[in-house]
Symmetry: C3
Subunit: 368 residues, 3 copies
């Protein structure tokens, strides 16, 4: 759902009874509108061209119309600039030379666009108070300014802080804390001993605080290790749809601030993830691994348990980290995609790679 | 839950009050029965043997009894035909020569079996109307012939078309559309701006229309890119359990008609998937990738962002597509499974493959 | 949530009305306390040191305080023993020589710790009866000793046996059975024809009994194969968060007893998993594969369809099983992680591995 900024021109419709029988969420009723000059002032950008032009939305260079703002940050799309019908384009000073319409000049057009676009996001209004179908334990503390959607369940000892928004079907388990201004879009489960910082955004289907996978093998069967820790998630983190984060076995699983997790990521018990690290969809981190700050973990990449990964490490998609990484840099594993018949021939040879290396050495020795 | 066909002999039990306090779904109360001759006529198949035999279910060649229909489509199972106790077997003309029981002869026995078996599926009845525990926004439009299960939430501006079935705990977010005759089995979340075509089948835990993973790095922290597009899903698509499909950043994420997604698949923002493409469990497609028609993507295979994959491409399980594919065909990556000690030796050599290739070239050069 | 054992000293607070409007779950109100001597007697362990010391919790060697129990099972942590502040440590006879505090001596300290720690797990109390917001079909049978949480839905013909606990938002589909003392933590969906044995533990977001992915290709489009089987899960199994297990096409998908599945695992239709097999997060097993007993499947490993894997096979993380495995042992695939530029050079050479092998053979032939 994204940024928490609210446009000053957005006015939620007043309602006498925000939660009558069949109302859930109330959309913004007005449309956001800014002139190009207003945008320039608000975001401290220089503008060129018609500052009075009114902008009410955003679009791609190819798709935006005269009342929409677009951006150019990737030179790959520079060819589309000449033909754009956008009302205004965010771009850097050099590209602005060739801009056929109004321009907003930014050092980093992508970042500037991200800030501006948040103005035009139509977030569902979050009416303070709890929907009557929500089930809230007596010992739970819910801020009067928080919004609790239909069919939510808030268990004993849980805390929902000011301005937090729980969409439909969220479960806030025993002793969990939802920090101020956090937004659980819908159907999020905080199982137990989970603390979310401020402005945390969690997408549907995420499960945080489920049991870690801890087992001891007792002769002929498994014995479960109770998972007695919790999960601590820092301010400004984002957790994707159907992502799972297990509670720690004894101490907590931790995400520092501004960690960004895409969908279907699995974070095992006692993992520690440094601030500003981002992981793409389907990545997985095994128990007690410690990931540094400002790391980028590619889609479906994996990190084995008990390893350490330094700050500013990039792991490319589908790679498996099998040893600790001590130095910043980019790391990969895997083999290239090939047409299947060619691939089969090469893959079959892989099974003999050690033998080939020995034979190569033997030939070299013979030669001498 | 499968096909939407209803057997003419299935008669739901009449009920005065379909949604009294504790009723959710009403099962079919009668049993489906067809004679072999009726099946032959209904599906335009030739039959051999006793056409009056009554069939009330389906089973495997090894497991079916005299009132059950089985099929033989894979020659691997031909040896089981002689000993089958099935009442009738669907098979091709050649195999029918050796069939010890009644036979239904089909050009493609697997397809014919799929159609026939749908007759015997006992789908939960879908009583029109909404369960009293459902929460429906005033501006939502729900067809009187649609069925809305317990604890569903339908938000402002959403539309549920005729004959659509929402099982328990579905959330239909703002401005989403559920097309006619679509079935959301249970606990499906359409977050926002999602349009499902007709006869779309969505399994539990699926999340459609969650935010795409779009971030801009601003010096020392992430800024979220608002995800302002939607998701459009064509007619006859099927979406597996716990699969996630993100909304587009500016334009829509699109699945054309008859796309079939298995469980736990991740489809990122602005992906475009052509008609009749099927993906097996745990596959993942990164942002803005464009997959052709009639593709088959294997289990846990991945496609990197912004790539294009032509029509009729097959990707084998766990492969990673790292470049665009322009030609139909089968593509793979990965190395073969080996006993661990052997594998370790070969894998260690992989780290020096470039060096070996150079040494090989040097030897060849020396020889000349 | 873990072990089902209850400490004798735990006394749930009596309540007149266990489910008044806003109560969901009632926490244990007393604290669990045992003396070291009591623990020794209860678990048949020898103790050394002060048997009267009172223990009320568990912790790591580094983190535990004087009223907490810790353990030493991995010699890697032996260095922490001397400095521990734990009240008592579970360890083996040899390590006990150097224990600076009370000691509980166990043949397998990890297993002994697992049993002891379960005493100190604070499970939410499970009040018998159904929360008023639960929707239960008239033909469902729910044991009076079972606990049904807020917003659960129990469909026609379903059975919930004695002492079973359904947390909030569980859906028990038509004809499903939840065995005695099983615990569905929250938001678990049993779709249809699912039978759970006794003491099965299922974590949030799991979907069991969803349709298998069965399709027949009919000239130019897909035809769905109805999925008419069920799922049978044995006693003492554990199913992780957001894990999916499909129902069988004709016969059942089966997990024998004490199978342990971590989070986000995908089990396709008609898979059969032998007793005591454990799988780590994000593993996936394709249709009709048969996995033996006492296997260990690593994180994100995959098993292709229709294969057989013998008893006591270990598959390392991210490996793909592409052929049946007939012998116990450890198996792997994949290539090692490297710094990206080095990796690129080696990976590019992989595309020519077959050619290199031929050139190597040619050189050897020349030499003779």
């Amino acid at each position: 759902m994204g940024g928490m900024r609210q446009a000053i021109s957005q006015v939620p419709r007043a309602r006498a009874n925000p939660y009558n029988a069949r109302i859930t969420l109330e959309p913004w009723m007005s449309t956001t509108r800014y002139s190009v000059a207003q945008l320039a002032e608000r975001f401290a950008l220089e503008f060129r061209g018609d500052g009075t032009r009114v902008i009410d939305g955003v679009g791609t260079l190819a798709g935006a119309g005269p009342s929409q703002l677009s951006f150019l940050s990737n030179s790959k799309y520079a060819g589309q600039l000449a033909a754009t019908h956008a009302g205004v384009v965010v771009l850097n000073r050099e590209a602005a030379e060739n801009c056929p319409t109004a321009a907003l000049i930014a050092r980093d057009p992508y970042v500037a666009y991200a800030h501006i676009a948040a103005l035009f996001e139509r977030l569902p209004a979050a009416t303070p108070g709890a929907h009557p179908s929500a089930v809230i334990a007596p010992s739970a503390r819910v801020s009067p300014s928080a919004s609790v959607g239909p069919h939510c369940v808030i268990e004993e000892g849980a805390v929902v802080e000011e301005g937090a928004v729980l969409g439909s079907h969220c479960i806030i388990g025993q002793d969990c804390v939802v920090g101020a201004q956090s937004r659980l879009v819908a159907r999020v489960t905080l199982v137990k001993r989970v603390t979310l910082g401020k402005r945390v955004l969690v997408h549907p289907g995420a499960v945080i605080g489920s049991d870690g996978f801890g087992l001891a093998f007792d002769r002929d069967h498994w014995v479960k290790l109770p998972q007695l820790g919790g999960v601590r998630i820092g301010d400004d983190c984002e957790i994707g749809a159907n992502t799972t984060i297990d509670c720690g076995a004894l101490e907590d699983t931790v995400l520092e601030e501004d960690v960004r997790l895409d969908n279907q990521i699995q974070i095992a018990h006692n993992v520690y993830i440094g601030a500003h690290t981002a992981m793409a969809g389907c990545a997985a981190v095994a128990g007690s691994a410690k990931i540094g700050r400002y790391c980028m973990i590619g889609g479906n990449a994996g990190v084995l348990g008990h390893l350490e990964v330094a700050d500013r490490v990039t792991i490319t998609a589908k790679s498996l980290v099998t040893h600790s990484i001590r130095e910043a840099g980019e790391y990969s594993s895997g083999v290239p995609l090939q047409e299947n018949r060619q691939w089969r021939r090469n893959a079959a040879r892989f099974k003999h790679l050690d033998e080939y290396a020995r034979r190569l050495s033997a030939l070299e020795k013979d030669k001498k």
